[in-house]
């Protein structure tokens, strides 16, 4: 191989690698990104079975039921519709009724959302961004009272 051919081979190899990485990235974005839904959007959404999604909303007051050991079930609501959720594990510190929450997992055929992770806000002035935006759209959210946010 001449020097020029070698250089072409190297550049070609690099381009193949970059192409493969790009293809992989877009494939992964299509497959592995999880969409965010509020309970009311969920019925309109067409989900393939077993697709991972994020479900956000408020923990419906009075819906928390503790089952055997570490099992817990509750409902996530946007004050319009509500979706029952089951979860096994430790709930976050700030998980409370009426509180903003994001759960991640899959929606079962029976309409029960099986969550494998539950995120609540980190502190009392923080509402998960997706939840806050959606609630604002629906006009349920009110801006924080002055002095409570920074």
């Amino acid at each position: 191989m001449t020097r020029k051919q070698k250089r072409l081979a190297v550049i070609g190899g690099a381009l193949v690698f970059l192409g493969a990485a790009t293809a992989l990235t877009f494939y992964a974005l299509g497959q592995k990104a999880s969409y965010f839904f509020m309970p009311a959007d969920l019925q309109a959404a067409s989900l393939s079975p077993g697709q991972r999604i994020r479900l956000g909303g408020l923990v419906e007051p009075g819906s928390i039921r503790r089952g055997q050991g570490t099992q817990v079930s509750f409902a996530v609501t946007d004050t319009d519709k509500s979706v029952p959720v089951t979860y096994t594990g430790i709930l976050p510190d700030l998980f409370r009724e009426g509180q903003g929450v994001i759960t991640e997992g899959t929606l079962g055929a029976d309409g029960v959302f099986e969550a494998d992770s539950v995120l609540a806000k980190h502190d009392e002035t923080y509402m998960p961004k997706e939840v806050a935006d959606s609630l604002k759209e629906k006009g349920i959210w009110q801006e924080e009272t002055p002095g409570s946010g920074s």
Binding site: A21, A28, L29, D93
Partner: protein, 664 residues
């Protein structure tokens, strides 16, 4: 006294000095006036002193609980322990931006002090670009995030710092991270200065490399510290979440690592000049992007103190100015820069190019994964989250071949290497790695092929650099004393490289072992009960209430019992409530046994007097962070390499003498 106002004034003064620092040396370099160029140094140092003074005043307001300062009232409390009063200074948006600027001006002052051997016009341009960055961020702090805003009448009690930020890890994490982020600004300024000058000096890489090394070292420490903090404070037992905020610090690290390697080629072979300049620009641009993502409130998370849109717009403007400006300058001037030495694809240079190709691609995947959700939401309104599954599928495959290739690099010769000969030298390391893989497959029941291969890869990564050092010190072929002397006599950069790669291997081993072999168990426990965790057991002793300085907590005591039934230690986890904000937190209990850890996190109490307990056995987990420490040590050792101080005509005689000693 009105110290607070004097601090505020000093900050304004620092802004005025930054403007002058931008204009005077630049004008000097353009009209060729040496006095104007030389004035850049003292101005830069004065600007640093003014900024540091302002920061000291703010810290003192925190220490004295001066609630007439809005920022102190919002983030402090008179009963908070003194340490967290001090660290509270940068535990909020305004204070942390001020710290950012302090560190920026600090690096500027360092350049001013240690750049006497630089060509006058290059030095002037570097300081001028630093001044421009400083002026932009000082204006941002003063107009949108002023920490000296007053609150009259002053309340008598503050609102307290967010409890999960009241932690020693958080006291160290931001300063280290910023030393890293902002340290790359020096590389950026050098790149911009070279483009302004229209020439890249042969010594450019040697001047830039120490700054890259230092910034990289701090950034490594900052990321590791942040990871360990999230690990023990959030109580989820994870060490990396692919959270956008984490990615924001990880991208400059990846690009900085690439820069570190490309600069080697540049200083040794005068090749990859244009690429290195571009990489220096990109690295700091990613630092700025990280600052924008974290500080603008685009990503709402615990890090986003700012939700004020004017701040986001301001940082976005700074981002556009510096990234756009520098790239435009690059496009304009890159053509005038000359290419350097030639090399064969299989060579040290070739391996470093490969390293750069993989690292920048990996950076790009992280960038896409971080920005794509933001862009998608802006364009279509769809909200998606890109998490670990995405990065495992993209970042993993890109990094894997790079990790396999790492041990080859330092053994390949410059210009043209012999892959076969290098493979022969690495045969022992390769054999041990295969052996380790097989051993894991046979001995550990739960291990899959991937886990075993991961352990093998880690062994390969750890043994490769050790082989390299052993070869260069001729261990085995000469008496021990001689090889030890040769080892010590090796150039520091070679030892640093080996340490850096060794650290990478240790971190990889820690990650592989934790992900593949950790045992997790969630159960309800009552006092006196015992539960199994792997081959060990853990006994729940009971609860005890504890009154802290600004919190109350219920502590749960556990005893860890080893496989041979002996007690191996105690661990206590707690549910804590911070009084001022009435905020509950979970304090995980961690027991370190050797390099492994037992991790206990508490859930909710049950009605029958028990409590939900989540227990992990995390084998070799500490290696993740110890590896990072070894990488930092590698960077530190490399910093002491004499080569980085060559390039100054005035030092010729001394350098010559040193050479004579080395070659003797």
């Amino acid at each position: 006294m009105a110290m607070v106002e004097i601090g505020h004034f000093a900050l304004v003064l620092a802004f005025a000095l930054a403007l002058v620092q931008t204009a005077v040396p630049f004008a000097g370099a353009r009209i060729g006036d040496e006095r104007l160029m030389a004035a850049g140094g003292p101005i830069t140092i004065a600007g640093f002193l003014a900024t540091a003074f302002a920061f000291a005043v703010l810290t003192s307001a925190y220490v004295q609980s001066d609630f007439s300062v809005l920022n102190v009232w919002e983030n402090s409390h008179s009963l908070k322990p003194m340490l967290y009063k001090i660290t509270g200074t940068w535990g909020n948006h305004e204070g942390s931006m001020l710290l950012w600027v302090v560190i920026l001006t600090f690096f500027g002052a360092m350049v001013a002090l240690f750049s006497a051997n630089l060509p006058a016009s290059l030095r002037a341009d570097v300081l001028s670009v630093q001044g421009l960055i400083g002026a932009a961020f000082l204006l941002f702090v003063l107009t949108t995030s002023n920490p000296f805003t007053r609150l009259i009448p002053a309340p008598f009690e503050g609102r307290d710092l967010n409890p999960i930020l009241q932690d020693i890890g958080l006291a160290i994490h931001p300063p280290l991270l910023y030393l890293g982020y902002v340290g790359f600004s020096v590389c950026f300024s050098f790149a911009a200065a070279a483009l302004i000058e229209g020439r890249i000096d042969a010594a450019w890489a040697r001047w830039v490399r120490p700054w890259t090394l230092a910034a990289w070292m701090f950034l490594t420490g900052g990321i590791a510290m942040g990871s360990y903090w999230a690990y023990y404070e959030l109580g989820w037992g994870g060490f990396w979440f692919w959270d956008p905020v984490e990615n924001a610090s990880f991208m400059p690290w990846l690009a900085g690592t690439a820069l570190l390697h490309s600069a080697i080629v540049m200083e040794k072979r005068s090749a990859l000049k244009i690429w290195s300049v571009l990489l220096a620009i990109l690295t700091f641009s990613l630092s700025l992007l990280g600052t924008f993502l974290v500080r603008s409130g685009v990503l709402t998370s615990v890090h986003a103190f700012a939700t004020d849109p004017s701040r986001g717009v301001f940082i976005l403007a700074i981002l556009t100015l510096f990234i756009g400006g520098s790239l435009a300058l690059f496009a304009l001037r890159a053509g005038t820069l000359t290419a350097g030495g030639l090399f064969h694809p299989i060579s040290r240079e070739g391996s470093l190019v490969l390293n750069n190709l993989f690292l920048t691609t990996a950076t790009a995947t992280v960038l896409v994964g971080t920005l794509y959700p933001l862009l998608l939401e802006a364009v279509t309104g769809d909200k998606i989250s890109v998490g670990a599954p995405f990065f495992n599928l993209t970042f993993g495959p890109v990094m894997l071949p790079l990790l396999v290739a790492v041990p080859f690099g330092p053994l390949l010769a410059w210009k043209r290497g012999d892959l076969l000969a290098v493979s022969q030298r690495l045969f022992a390391a390769f054999a041990v790695a295969i052996f380790a893989t097989l051993l894991v497959l046979m001995l550990v029941d739960s291990a899959g092929a991937f886990a075993a291969a991961g352990v093998g890869l880690s062994a390969w990564l750890i043994l490769g650099p050790l082989t390299d050092l052993a070869m260069k010190a001729a261990v085995g072929s000469v008496p021990v004393a001689v090889s030890l002397r040769r080892l010590i006599g090796l150039p520091r950069s070679i030892i640093g490289t080996a340490l850096g790669h060794l650290g990478l291997g240790l971190t990889t081993l820690g990650i592989v072992c934790t992900l593949a072999f950790q045992v997790e168990h969630i159960t309800v426990m009552k006092p006196g009960e015992t539960t199994d965790i792997g081959s060990r057991q853990i006994r729940f002793e009971g609860f005890s209430p504890v009154q802290g300085p600004n919190f109350t907590e219920t502590r749960a005591l556990f005893t860890a019992i080893a496989a041979d039934r002996s007690e191996s230690g105690r661990v206590s986890a707690a549910k804590r409530v911070y009084t001022a904000r009435q905020m509950p937190t979970t304090e995980a209990g961690i027991l370190t046994l050797g390099l492994s850890q037992l991790y206990v996190s508490l859930g909710d109490p049950t009605d029958d007097g028990g409590i939900v307990v989540r227990i992990w056995w995390k084998p070799l987990v500490t290696l993740i962070w110890l590896g990072a420490l070894v990488m930092m040590a590698g960077a530190g050792v490399s910093l002491t390499d004499r080569r980085l101080r060559v390039g100054a005509p005035s030092r010729r005689s001394r350098a010559g003498k040193a050479n004579a000693e080395v070659s003797a």
